[in-house]
Amino acid sequence: MGAQVFKPSANSIAHVTILGIAIVPLTVGLSLAALSRSPANTKVNVPKNQPVPFSHQHHSWELGIDCRYCHGSVEKSGYAGLPSTETCMSCHSQIWTNSPLLEPVRQSYETNTPIKWNLVNKVPDFVYFNHSIHVARGVNCNTCHGPVNDMHITWKGNPFQMAWCLECHRAPERHLTKDPTRPDLSPRQQVFDLYWKLQTYGKTGFKDDGTKALSERELQLLKGEWNGSDKPEDIKSGKELVKELGVQVQQLADCAVCHH
């Protein structure tokens, strides 16, 4: 045996190294998993700056403008549609005509160049998302987009990651809803009827005589907190709704449904 190459302290280094080999990859892996789900990556609840500080809270809740006034193709097309400058100017040629905040809108109108809004909600190119079918099956806007009617500067309400999409696509009976008080409305009409109710009864949802006008679920929907229900009665009615609407559950989570 020759002289020792290392001092006895090398043993501690060796122990720590071995422990590190076991712990570090696990920690890094879990951290990455956590990071990819956090707002740092998903941008959920992070307001996005826009060329014009447009407030959904003001237009939708305070003024009560229907979603479809601006997002006109949401019922008929895959793309919900962003309003053209002309749509903005339909009001703003009359009111707030000198507001400095609206200068970019007037610029756009005069020079005939669209405003470059920053996209808040986007899915990758290989995902074919269609707004019209979701609206036609009564999926409320706020289910995916969060409490838009409370947003000053718009943020993303949900992560739009595949796992999140599949929560509903694998078990639509947990998520599909219907207003039992208005059986005369189609699911599509119910989506927008909820905002009408909101305007009529206010955020707390009471009628003048003190009775509740908005159900618990409707309040959750409006707050963007509706995340499905596991109550047996809800599942039962959800299943009936799935059947009634002809939702093909066995195909709904097929790859080709979204990745054509």
Binding site: V5, A10, M162
Partner: protein, 465 residues
């Protein structure tokens, strides 16, 4: 049959512990010992690895359209070469695990580099399915991890079993190899005169002092790892065979596939071990540690596994007739015997069925030339076997639309040669920087042979130097 006198010892010459330390250790400690042949082989390895790098880069740039894979034959060289390389790895695991549990002391001087070959062969093999996916950067999707896609691997698919079989195989083999190296690293640390070498080997030997406790722990650990590796010898290639056997393609859906694949793997593996052992023992004068006895026994294993494989070929023909399945019959009798690729089938029968029969004669089991010829034939034969299985079945099955030829492209060959280059490159790095023979196990063997040595030396004085 004329009995040729062969060296009946596992260690020859007048060996002491020090002389064994020296004859193996000098390959690492005395770097000047590596002369022209090493540099030539290393250059070949480097060139091959470069070719591999270029073909992978071009593949990633262009996509797998540069390969010859087409629609009926979506599996081509990529899968053929994957199975071929995985098979080659099997000898190492068999030698290190099963022969250890069976207390076969003759494994001691060949296990180290057979294990190294296993690891390098699995590395070459692993590249193919990875690139075959077409999007290797998404390969982590194959593992069950916490993802944001809510997707989980399809555990009912044999391709998924493959991922686990091969990755387990690689990790267990690598750990087994490293654990076996620890006492030898300590020897090299003690013998090394060079400061850098001393420090590197000291780190690698993980504080090994050769104490009683160390040896006790080591023996336990090694035995446990051998127990863990033993099922792998059988499971890995069985699972690879499931990639085929679980499907309904004619010529694949056969129950004999798992044992026939495993035997074929050991067959190919031993051929590769002999292919490397012969030149290396000559080059570095290790004939006293890898003796003709080793060659003789390895050749016998080659013969035995070769016969099992040949039996598999016969069974395939029998099944196709006995099953009464028209498509099986059509494939075997029409396509394999007389079809456009029949040359490959008949060459396969010649290489794997006929040539190894030379090993019934003892003379051919120890003669380096005949050993080399047979082992090369077996390597070619085992490659052809996978060729016969894959494109031949895919280009001729149930529908006339499948009747289309498969032609490999330039890049198919480039990548195949490239992985061979990578293998040679890694092997020759290994020869230069790690002890290629298990020093302490050979010393152990020398101790156990103790008294017997002298008696046999007297019996064959011609062998004693």
């Amino acid at each position: 049959m004329a009995q040729v006198k062969i060296n009946d010892l596992l260690i020859t010459g007048d060996q002491t512990y020090a002389s064994i330390d020296n004859s193996v250790g000098r390959l690492v400690l005395d770097q000047k010992i590596h002369k022209k042949p090493w540099f030539i082989m290393f250059a070949i390895g480097i060139l091959g690895t470069g070719l591999l790098g270029v073909s992978i880069a071009w593949l990633l740039f262009q996509g797998i359209g540069i390969w010859g894979n087409n629609v009926p034959s979506a599996w081509g060289f990529d899968i053929i070469n994957f199975v071929w390389w995985i098979g080659i790895g099997h000898a190492g695991t068999l030698i290190s695990a099963i022969l250890l549990l069976l207390r076969q002391q003759w494994r001691n001087s060949i296990n180290r580099f057979a294990e190294a070959m296993t690891i390098f062969a699995v590395m070459c093999a692993g590249l193919y399915p990875l690139l075959h996916t077409g999007r290797p950067w998404n390969a982590y999707w194959l593992f069950p991890y916490t993802n944001i896609l809510a997707m989980w691997p399809q555990f009912r698919s044999p391709l998924m079993w493959d991922v686990f079989a091969v990755s387990t195989y690689f990790s267990v083999s690598a750990v087994f190899w490293f654990v076996g190296l620890i006492p030898d690293f300590a020897t090299l640390r003690d013998k090394s005169t060079n400061r850098i070498g001393k420090v590197i080997f000291a780190i690698l030997s993980m504080g090994w002092r050769g104490s009683n406790q160390h040896w006790h722990r080591y023996e336990q650990m090694y035995l446990l790892l051998a127990g863990l590796s033993t099922p792998l010898v059988l499971s890995v290639h069985s699972i690879v065979s499931f990639d085929f056997a679980v499907s309904i393609v004619p010529g694949w859906n056969v129950t004999v596939f798992p044992p026939y694949f495993v035997a074929g793997a050991v067959f190919a593996g031993f051929a590769m071990v002999i292919t490397f052992a012969l030149p290396i023992r000559k080059l570095y004068k290790l004939e006293h540690l890898i003796t003709d006895r080793h060659m003789d026994w390895m050749a016998k294993i080659l013969l035995a596994t070769g016969l099992i494989v040949f039996y598999g070929y016969i069974l395939e023909i029998f099944f196709s007739w006995y099953s009464g399945n028209f498509y099986e019959y059509k494939l075997l009798i029409n396509t394999r015997f007389t079809g456009p690729y029949s040359w490959a089938y008949w060459m396969l029968i010649f290489c794997n069925g006929i040539v190894p029969q030379l090993f019934w004669i003892q003379k051919f089991r120890v003669n380096p030339v005949s050993l080399m010829i047979v082992c090369q034939a077996v390597s070619v034969g085992m490659w052809l076997e996978r060729f016969v299985i894959i494109p031949m079945s895919l280009t001729n099955n149930y529908l006339p639309s499948s009747d289309k030829m498969y032609y490999p492209s330039f890049w198919d060959f480039a990548m195949f040669l490239g992985t061979m280059g990578l293998f040679i490159f890694l092997m020759f790095l290994f020869i230069r920087f790690l002890p290629i023979i298990n020093i302490f196990e050979v010393k152990d063997l020398l101790f156990k042979m103790g008294g017997k040595r002298e008696i046999v030396e007297e019996a064959t004085p011609a062998e004693v130097k």
